[in-house]
Symmetry: C2
Subunit: 192 residues, 2 copies
């Protein structure tokens, strides 16, 4: 699949539609209509409806991995590492809120064997966060929290953020999200 301006537009329109209606509820005919062209023409842009979803999900998943790998490879303290992970997570979300929404809500619609690949990769990411938290506890920077629970909680705390970037009438100032969220999460973990 090439990357032309037309294809770029196609992918964006389809993405917003899938976000709005949900993947299953969005038909190829819906996408075609939204773009004002024939149903069959959709297949000049994609191989299948499934592959379309895969494109979105694996692309943004890769970006998340790249960013956390950068942090993991650094020499910062655990506290600084966690702060950086939160920061980069929010930055990616700000840049690609719709794909992040799919990541949160539509991954179930993947089919095997790609679903398994996706889930393994997601677990990888969680394990990387876990590593940071473990290191923080070992180095006595973090309280002796339950690692499983804390990892889940940290991840979940971040998962709603895309909403404030998608919804234009959101009263939430996107700029202060990072500060507030970082404060909140670190307060729950860091030793005082």
């Amino acid at each position: 699949m090439k990357k032309s301006a037309k294809r770029e537009r196609f992918l964006n329109v389809a993405l917003e539609l899938i976000h709005k209606k949900g993947f299953k509820a969005t038909t190829i005919r819906d996408i075609a209509q939204q773009l004002n062209f024939d149903v069959a023409n959709v297949y000049n842009y994609i191989d299948s409806k499934q592959s379309l979803l895969e494109t979105y999900l694996f692309s943004i998943q890769d970006e998340f991995h790249d960013s956390i790998d950068l942090v993991l490879g650094s020499t910062h303290t655990p506290k600084e590492k966690l702060r950086l992970v939160i920061s980069s997570y929010i930055q990616i979300t700000a840049k690609r809120p719709f794909e992040q929404a799919l990541l949160a809500n539509e991954w179930r619609n993947l089919k095997e064997p790609r679903l398994q690949v996706f889930l393994n990769r997601r677990e990888d990411y969680e394990n990387k966060v876990k590593t940071i938290i473990k290191e923080g506890i070992t180095k006595d920077e973090f309280r002796k929290v339950d690692i499983e629970i804390t990892t889940h909680t940290v991840m979940s705390s971040l998962r709603w953020v895309y909403l404030s970037y998608i919804n234009p009438q959101s009263k939430i100032n996107a700029e202060i999200i990072e500060q507030e969220l970082t404060d909140f999460i670190l307060a729950g973990i860091v030793k005082t």
Copy 2:
């Protein structure tokens, strides 16, 4: 619709199936097959596929509202109120993890006008949490956090908990979830 033992079983089997496959992906034929009876027989238990989803969602949504109303009507301090809300939220989740999963993932499949009712009611709940946080700030028990962001974060921190009650191979001890989560959330809010 009556409440017989057979209907009870039907609702439970359908619920787990819908949770596992997703609402859209679960067909009436899937449900029938899982129960080992004919497709048409399903309609002796429900009016429509839609109404089935509504049954689950509004039922557990009501329970959440009842429990937070109890807390709001009490004379506790904001900190104690928040602790009670978290506690009752987790208890409901523990009792009805599959319905909680639908609440988190499948509400989009509701159709108008019921979708609007659901969303208004969900906003109501969030506003009730907001009220507690506001009160905590006013009474100087909580830090001067951003109310919108904090409410979202608190709610999101709780939304993953059903996983540990559904997944039997979860390494997470269900008993300590409440303690850890309460600690985490309060640490992010309470003034020290």
